[in-house]
């Protein structure tokens, strides 16, 4: 329950009853509830069936523990012809500052990270704000595998077979209203489970944001797995974002809250250093990071560097989102 207290999904003092009087009234009613007619009693077979059903739900492979295989994953056409980055590199070379700033730290320090129970709050400018249980989220839409290029702002890249579904599928469920212009994301943060975070030099909880049209774009993925299995903790379990035409840090990990909002939300790296990290952070070889060139990248596993592509090579799909915008100004 400590998760719930810190994740902002059920805040302290947020009572489900209107007032103390209601608690008393409900308590008095309970006396009546003891005297139910036999017609109301659940038949034993149904009761046992329900148990079996619950047990089978819990046993759905891959929905609980990192490393488990994910079943019923549809393949997709993305990333044809790309050579996959080896599993060990994808899961052993990570930036997840809550678990330490070294690339090998997250794999080591996130080993015992608790990803159940887990809830995802989706609210803000929506008609149907909701708190989802994570396993409910994972059943919202059919899972599909998408092989995407992943470009880090630091100048390296990977090719990863992610598993998930478009973020739009989730956002449609809560029905954004006409005020919703941006989407704000928030990571889980618990200093007890993430003691290394104190040294990271950036504020937590990690927050990110997208414009609503970016968030609704079919390429934008909510990810719960990779390489055919449940997302390893160091990669942002149980649920993370992948926006393949933006630098990797936009892909917020271990999401607990998604809010639809009127104006551009704050983002963590921009808060930490606004000169170096903007809100949009689209992959762009023409716009250098102040401290290094973004013209080229080292694909993990390759010796020579390769040219970085505008929008990470997804320009055909996403360039129209930025028509008429000065990408140097909105970096």
């Amino acid at each position: 329950m400590s998760r719930k207290e810190t994740s902002g999904t059920a805040r302290c003092g947020e009572n489900i009853y209107k007032d103390d009087g209601e608690i008393l009234r409900r308590f008095l009613h309970m006396r009546d509830r003891y005297s139910l007619p036999w017609s109301m009693v659940t038949p034993r077979s149904v009761y046992l069936n329900r148990r079996r059903l619950l047990a089978s739900l819990l046993a759905v492979p891959g929905l609980a523990v990192a490393g488990q295989k994910l079943e019923n994953v549809r393949k997709s056409g993305y990333g044809q012809g790309e050579k996959l980055t080896p599993y060990d590199a994808v899961t052993g070379y990570n930036n997840f500052y809550e678990f330490g700033t070294g690339k090998e730290d997250p794999a080591r320090n996130a080993k015992n990270f608790r990803t159940r129970p887990w809830t995802l709050r989706v609210d803000g400018e929506v008609l149907k704000p909701r708190t989802f249980d994570i396993d409910e989220v994972l059943r919202l839409a059919p899972l599909e595998e998408r092989i995407y290029r992943h470009r880090c702002v630091e100048g390296w890249s990977m090719v990863v077979p992610w598993i998930g579904f478009p973020l739009a599928e989730l956002l449609k469920r809560v029905e954004p209203n006409s005020n919703a212009k941006f989407v704000a994301f928030e990571s889980y943060y618990d200093p007890r489970q993430m003691p290394q975070a104190a040294w990271a030099g950036i504020p937590f909880p990690y927050v990110e944001g997208l414009r609503l049209d970016e968030a609704m774009h079919p390429l934008t993925l909510l990810v719960c797995g990779l390489y055919g299995e449940v997302l390893p903790n160091q990669n942002g379990a149980p649920l993370r974002l992948i926006v393949p035409w933006k630098y990797g840090f936009k892909g917020i990990k271990s999401i607990v809250r998604i809010r639809l909002v009127k104006s551009q939300p704050p983002t963590t790296w921009n808060l930490a250093n606004s000169r170096e990290y903007g809100f949009y952070s689209n992959v762009n070889p023409q716009v250098d990071h102040p401290r290094w060139s973004q013209a080229r990248e080292r694909r993990i596993g390759e010796f020579f560097k390769r040219d970085t592509l505008l929008f990470n090579g997804y320009g055909n799909e996403v360039a129209r989102l930025y028509e008429g915008m000065d990408l140097r100004k909105y970096y």
Partner: protein
């Protein structure tokens, strides 16, 4: 007397061999890592990091010799300073070579722009440039040719090399400044030790400046 000198020379040789072995260990480890492919997902980054860090560590070790001689009452430590300094230069050269070759692939235009535009690269280049004349004039022959005083003045460039090296590291990290801060603290302590010594000894440059040209010859 002769036998004693011989024993001392032998001991010095053994210590030198041990020191040489110790400071080549990181290099051997890197070579082994490259040949076994055990340098992780991004070997080039790893080599760059390791060589850079060993350059800094050895630079600080070189700067630690003078204060340690005093504190430990071990003036003989001076005999190993050149080895430490040259080792720093060796790792610095590897570090630069990694950048020139494995990062930039000899794209001189891009490197030129980097040096002008990116201040952390400017600082790194400055640090290396300051080490070059020190390595070149490290031999006994050069000390004689330049004369002790002039040689010593030239070799004060080591302060520039170390300071620019620490700044280079500081400006490179994204947000976690613990490591560069540690190097900076050690460098500050080593410089402070010198200031305190200068304040005490008669041939301090401060005192010399105050007392006029006469006291300079000591």
């Amino acid at each position: 007397m002769h036998a004693q000198a011989e024993r001392r020379a032998r001991r010095e040789f053994v210590i030198h061999c041990a020191l040489f072995f110790l400071i080549s260990l990181p290099f051997i480890a890197l070579l082994a890592g490259v040949s076994q492919g055990s340098l992780g997902a991004n070997p080039v980054e790893k080599v760059t990091r390791e060589t850079g860090q060993w350059t800094l560590r050895l630079l600080l070790a070189t700067l630690a010799v003078t204060p340690l001689r005093r504190w430990l009452g071990a003036p003989w430590l001076i005999r190993y300073r050149r080895t430490l300094g040259l080792a720093a230069f060796f790792y610095g050269s590897l570090h630069l070579l990694t950048y020139v070759w494995l990062d930039q692939f000899f794209d001189w235009g891009s490197m030129g722009r980097d040096i002008l535009k990116r201040r952390f690269i400017t600082a790194g280049m400055l640090s290396f440039a300051a080490m070059v004349p020190l390595a070149a004039t490290s031999t006994r022959g050069w000390i004689i040719r330049l004369g002790g005083k002039r040689w010593q003045r030239l070799h004060r460039l080591v302060y520039l090399a170390a300071a620019a090296g620490v700044v280079h590291f500081w400006w490179l990290v994204k947000s976690d400044i613990r490591e560069p801060a540690l190097y900076a603290a050690i460098l500050a302590a080593l410089l402070l030790a010198r200031l305190m010594k200068w304040g005490q000894t008669p041939n301090s440059p401060f005192l010399a400046a105050r007392a006029g040209p006469l006291s300079k010859s000591s």
